[in-house]
Symmetry: C2
Subunit: 269 residues, 2 copies
């Protein structure tokens, strides 16, 4: 079982920022990735829909024999993790809790900003997890629906993206936050632009990094860490546009993605 792969999924390419951190922090683990590119974005969709999609994808990954699952999407973590974790018998973690914990422990003035999709922000989930760790924290959330399309359009370092970031994040700065959670797995790709907007004084929390750390701990706890040396055979599946996904993946990941495969998740799931 320790040699079994880790299942990781997201609505599209954003979850690759989590895969990158896993590859860096626990390089002995094999990844089976699923990007639901046919149905992205998740951020504007309802809880019911996201639970249905998550259930289909978890079923797909379990059929591939994974030993643990990472929901590398904030929206799906916010909406579906609680429901799904009771339905399966392997460890499953999301990206919200690890990020929230670090933010709650880092803030000095107790004012934490969270940026994410409409779904993540409206769910109030960061608020709940942050308050649980540190009841003195006040959370200011802001949905940034244009960030994902701007990243997908490749406008990573562009005046338009800077101007949108200034508008979105400006109102959080007015609240005097000292910590900002990048609450969507696409957003670490905009880190430089966001840094320009917030200046040097604000601590940026990247949940992708914290999630990989949390995964390592969970695997150890369940005696699932792979300590043997083996050739890794990462696999990448998407529900649409395998070639486009591959090009994007190869700009993000430390290893080369040789092949991505299109699958019909509605039929399979």
């Amino acid at each position: 079982m320790t040699k079994a792969p880790i299942g990781v999924f997201d609505s599209g390419v954003g979850g690759l920022t989590v895969v990158k951190e896993i590859m860096n922090q626990i390089p002995g683990e094999t990844i089976i990735y699923f990007g639901d590119t046919a149905r992205l974005p998740y951020g504007s969709k309802s809880k019911k829909t996201i639970i249905t999609y998550t259930r289909q994808i978890v079923r797909f990954l379990m059929r591939k024999g994974v030993k643990a699952i990472v929901i590398a999407c904030n929206t799906a973590s916010a909406f579906a993790l609680e429901t799904i974790k009771d339905e399966i018998d392997i460890p499953i973690i999301g990206v919200v809790k690890p990020g929230a914990k670090v933010a709650a422990r880092t803030t000095l003035n107790g004012k934490v900003g969270v940026i994410g999709t409409e779904g993540t922000i409206q769910s109030g989930i960061y608020n709940r997890f942050l308050s649980k760790t540190n009841p003195k924290v006040t959370v200011f959330g802001k949905a940034c629906p244009l960030f994902v399309p701007l990243v997908e359009e490749g406008l990573i370092d562009d005046p338009i993206t800077f101007e949108m970031a200034r508008r979105y994040i400006g109102e959080l700065l007015d609240k005097d936050i000292d910590t900002l959670v990048l609450g969507c797995t696409h957003y670490p790709l905009l880190r430089e632009t966001i840094r320009k907007v917030v200046g040097d004084e604000i601590f940026l929390v990247n949940p992708a990094y914290e999630t990989a750390k949390c995964l390592a701990a969970v695997l150890t706890e369940h005696n699932l860490r792979n300590d043997t040396t083996q050739a890794l055979n990462h696999k990448f599946y998407v529900s649409d546009g395998a070639e486009k996904f591959k090009r994007f993946a190869n700009t993000i990941l430390p290893c080369e993605v040789m092949e991505t495969k299109d699958i019909n998740i509605e039929e399979l799931g």
Copy 2:
């Protein structure tokens, strides 16, 4: 049969610009609308996926007893119309052909610009239809992937949208086009901003308007026009976010949308 409704569908709210034109031009017809909000946007997805989705939706609409169908989405018209029309026995039209015909007949210098989603532009379908009507036409296509999210974010009249429009359409202006097709049903909502970018000399083609005209002609040809007076009972279905859809619909349509209904298209279709 003449009293039966017209089925109209789109990936989301964009197709409402077509519904609006139908209501204005043939006000005696009842509409059954489906917006595939759980799986939008269509513009970045593959032909295979769009055909699958279109087939599910057409099946759903036919079970509602429609007498004719309008694909109120350029991407689905480009990718799926040819395949689907051979599978059903009622009239079905898309938005591409009516818009292309008018553009081909309107241009004086033979240089026509087309803006649309990645899928529509890459399919080359406007090129084919324009050339069929007028072989002397040269078509310049430009994908504008950020226009749909900008509309959905409500940035209809905003400096950021103007700047994106200037970048996208600027290169078409350099080609000396005299006619520009708004090749995505969201784009008529950006008409004022686009007008500011192109100036007064360029003819803007709105396929929504031309499609409603074409539908009227098709209904007459098949003896399907409803000439009786009856209370109209338009119905609006979506695959996600019924309330959000309703709010948007009520800012666009000439009648009030009282109710929208969520349905599970994957199970039903």
